[in-house]
Amino acid sequence: MTRPAILGLGPVCALGAGTVALIEGLEGRCQPLVEDRQVGIAKGPVPLKIYTSKTAGLERFAPRASLRRTEPFAQQALLAAYLAFEDAGLVPGQMNQSRVAVVFGSAWGCLKAGFAFQDSSIAHGDICSSPTHFSSSTHNAPASQVSIALGLAGPAMTLSCFEQTFGAALQAARNLLDNGSADYVLVGVGDEICPVTEYALAQRRGPAPDLDPLAFDKCTWALGGGFCCLLLGRGSQSPKYGYLEEIFMGTRVEDAPLKSLDAVFLAANGDSATGSAYRTAALASKRSFANANLFGSFPTANALDLAVACLCLREGRLLAPGDPQASRPSRLGCLQIDTYGSVQLFIVSNTSN
């Protein structure tokens, strides 16, 4: 099985866009954009904290006019894609574009476009409903926008399996490299928030405390959104961020090879339903971190965890506030546990075979 080389990262989240913003956030030098919102429900307004992702900087890659009909979620995906190629030092137009695959994923999909399409259909009837919102509402709209904008004509697919989305996308990407279908894979996942998800959260839970992913017994979940792309290549290519060493999928935390890792990044996101399993994982690990307080809570945020692990390998230290020691990590993991008990562990390393 191919050990994909990780060549470039394109994170877009509440900390901003790009690896510099991510590092600054991890080291406590910048704060995530967290908006305080009053969400009206039948019982009255509920205060919520919302981690908002911004696409400032996209104009650097694409003329504003060309983005006129591109929905905000697809704009996040576009920015993440451009950043990943730029980070890798590769220009799509100078590559054999039919050998570059796009594997995207989203748990929630294009929520704003989907609800906007329904709103326009309800308000104006099917004759006058927005065709742009219709085409932008499908899960694979971001992948198509990226394929078109960057001219990527290799295999393209979009997956959606909630918290297992990123793991499935990584598996698919590795398979495409392994069976020779592509030389590079742009793998990216993300989710966006919208007024309906805010309303649903307010109905379900009420006012939220500050998100604390390591308070395993408490429910501190806070809505977030973002998109993260990784550019993968074959194992023989010189990797900027090391290699995707292993994708573990199981149903028991105890089976995950946590002890072999220098540190593990937990996708714990303030959901007490998975808290005890994450506690077990933290206890079984040499060192553990959780960064949902920087990104917010959303099902595909574990791609940002993998970006963080890659940056730690690149920087030669564990990027965390108050952790200045140069620990020279060489093998890091990102652990995702979903509410149905599925366990996914992605291991990255900077060691050559």
Binding site: Q97, S98, A101, V102, S135, S136, T138, N140, A141, A143, S144, Q145, S147, I148, L150, G151, L152, A153, G154, P155, A156, M157, T158, N179, S181
Partner: protein
Amino acid sequence: LNLGEGAGLLVLESRQSAEKRGAKVLASVMGYGNASDAFHPTAPHPEGLGLKRATLAALNQAGLAPADIGCLNVHGTSTSANDAAEGKVIDEIFGSKLPFVSTKSYTGHAMGAAGGLEAVFTVMALLDQKLPASLGFETMDPQCRVAPVTSNTNLSARYGLSNSLAFGGVNSVLAFGVEA
């Protein structure tokens, strides 16, 4: 185009494992191909460039030539843009003799479930050596170049393909085979 709904599932197992437990193997997934048009958010490339590359990739991965393919379950949405592009690719790669059907004429377009359903139909066509008639086909659109089977058709096919296309110019082709 008519909407539909449903589900189609295949149980996959490695050949080694199936043979070890003496299972009856219905068919084999010989290969697949996937390629993007990178052309338009909703319309296929008018020459079907992505579908052509996906078809050739599936044949290549399966180790098959176009002449080995005995039947095809097309995406066949009955929209002018899809049918014209898909017809051109069929004509270019297989010529006009390959029997094909759009089973969406029976099920409607089940969107995300269409690929699964049509994979099942393709395997069943190979197992039964029969392709059902395309319902509702009356007049040949010259843009399409090729016509589907209009009556229940006996096959002599060991290998078959199933096409699935999607918004965003995504094209995927599955190649199935049955024992001789």
